[in-house]
Symmetry: C2
Subunit: 378 residues, 2 copies
């Protein structure tokens, strides 16, 4: 993670926004380059199915200087991806993908984010995590990560900021040590506590962003995300979102988000979110294990939105990699998927041996058909 | 590899062919099962684009007991896959995919293969590698692996062997030690020496298989494969093939196979097989590295048949995994591939970060269009 941050910081330094002279818009596919090396140019790149067009700067993808910063080092890769993906989904409801283009956040600097993520104290009055003070009872870090996404409008040679989205990743468990190098303790944080701390931090952040001239008159959208435990196989979800309208410094209405995710098969006595989806998965799993006994694992991650299955990602680990065996197994997976799995949901089935991926069976959207790819060619 | 072999041996033991009573054919998609557990049933599974249908036995894929056995332990996974894939390609020219179904080899046992792969000696007269004797000069192991593939004909409830293919993997380098635990030496083996040793072993094997009642009157096809060095990134290729016609114990005509493979970019002063393909790849590589500087590696494996590019597999390693960054990078790869890479060749582009695969851009055949998949869903 440190290496990743290091690279991000270097990149951010190299790509910091500066005032631009003669701006030029060109579609990436045209691969247009300006002959005057002193001018800065924008390009855009399409992101496919209902996604945002992404703004490139001088031909480069622009990263945010605060991506990956944490308050206590509590990160896992499944959360990281969901924090970003979920905020894009929330933003789609506010900033139309037809009118706005996406850029990773450029307004909150790494130094600012580090101050905000730290505890409030005399030396750090802008800290958004609670002051520990002299009190005996440990006060947890509620706010773990801040993510900024910028949504720009414009056309031709001129793009300007049109809206901003901020994701606040709230711990559901705060991991801490009482003494350096001592044992690790866990503090559970309730949804109520996450909500209170998250809404308070959101108000502060909106007020602070309004001080910036460029951000005075644009909508600011905030999403509150609940992080999972360190060892979770499935990322957390956003649970609340709200928008401060242009000119306003308040989020007047918070909207709850009903999103859930689970791993199948469930562990112990844990009940599946939807027993019918779980039973379809079990039929799929048993059927392929009947034909190819040499399979060491079949697991699935299911995501639900508003109580309805929205994505199913299945991972199959085999102990073989023979050419015809992989070919025929993949075809079996395809026919079994068609037989048992949901028809109207995007599905990804990743077939891998211990160290390498072997094949993919996937449907990209609910109403598309399956595509099959066997790695290494036929 | 040992674990893999162990599993294969267990499987083979469980699945050894026995005389079958009431045979029943059913398409796998129908998922038919017999209620009489004493009878054996066959099922078949389609293997897609111009491939063989695979015969399953009692619902299970049947593996060969000799897959993965080696004379000196000189194996690498890129060779292993090509030995199998290449023999399927050779077999397609002899056993039509419309009339024959595929099964991994069931006639040569592990004990037999181990004897054949060992040196000839008084105690092992059937050894196909040269006797070392008392002579001072080291005699290399030429034959490293034997692969058997069975091609069956039949329909309804009855399948029987219709042809057999044997792949002989010949070392291009024999690695050996003069004393146990001592330094490793290498003996280079010329193509001429591979050919002589391979053709001699092939004649022996055909004569021996003809002793078996079931194999007296079927074609036997032999392919000679040249293995690469232990640390090669790209598998070896078949260089000769021949068929002993039904009833004949001789391969009267050997056909040379013109197949090559290379890794791009080339190392040192090594010339690419085809400079135009190499320059297309370089343009592709430079173009995406211009837009996304944070890419640590872009390499390709190109396969040629009869001097013509037949498959290009590109691997891109990134140091990022942000959601929108992967999305937009994948779209850029797609448009860049369309611009620079061959139109009429199957292409696979695997996009991965250090430990995990992120996305796939691939066209399955020369005349199909690209498909795109981003792992984890949109």
């Amino acid at each position: 993670m440190k290496k990743f941050l290091h690279i991000l910081v270097l990149l951010a330094a190299a790509l910091t926004l500066t005032a631009c002279g003669n701006l030029k818009n060109s579609d990436l596919a045209n691969n247009a380059k300006t002959s005057n090396t002193k001018t800065k140019t924008y390009q855009t790149t399409d992101t496919g199915n209902n996604g945002y067009t992404v703004l490139l700067k001088n031909g480069h993808y622009v990263t945010s200087p605060i991506a990956g910063l944490t308050a206590t080092g509590n990160d896992n890769s499944v959360d990281t991806r969901e924090i970003e993906r979920g905020l894009v989904q929330i933003s789609k409801g506010v900033y139309s993908t037809n009118s706005y283009v996406f850029q990773e956040g450029q307004y909150i600097s790494a130094a600012t984010a580090n101050d905000w993520l730290a505890r409030k104290s005399k030396s750090n009055p802008s800290g958004l995590n609670p002051e520990q003070g002299e009190k005996k009872h440990y006060k947890p870090f509620y706010l773990e990560e801040i993510l900024e996404q910028d949504y720009l409008t414009g056309s031709g040679s001129n793009y300007h900021i049109g809206g901003i989205s901020i994701g606040l990743a709230m711990n559901s468990i705060d991991y801490y040590q009482k003494t350096t190098g001592g044992p690790e303790y866990q503090e559970q944080i309730s949804r109520t506590a996450q909500t209170t701390a998250g809404q308070t931090a959101a108000e502060q952040i909106v007020m602070r962003l309004r001080q910036r001239k460029a951000l005075k008159k644009i909508p600011i959208t905030i999403g509150l995300f609940s992080k999972t435990s360190k060892d979770s196989l499935v990322g957390g979800t956003y649970f609340l979102s709200g928008t401060a309208a242009a000119n306003s410094s308040k989020i007047t209405k918070w909207k709850s988000i009903s999103a859930q995710a689970e791993v199948l098969p469930t562990v112990g006595n844990k009940k599946a979110i939807n027993s019918s989806d779980a039973s379809s998965f079990n039929s799929f799993k048993e059927s392929i294990q009947n034909y190819f006994p040499n399979i060491s694992g079949v697991t699935a991650i299911l995501r639900y939105e508003n109580g309805k299955l929205s994505q199913e990602n299945i991972s199959i680990t085999t102990q073989f990699y023979g050419y015809e065996q992989v070919q025929s197994f993949t075809r079996l997976v395809l026919s079994t998927a068609k037989k048992y799995l949901a028809n109207d949901v995007p599905i990804e089935i990743k077939i891998g041996s211990v160290n390498d991926i072997q094949a993919l069976v996937a449907k990209e959207t609910g109403d598309s058909s399956y595509q099959v790819h066997i790695y290494g060619g036929e």
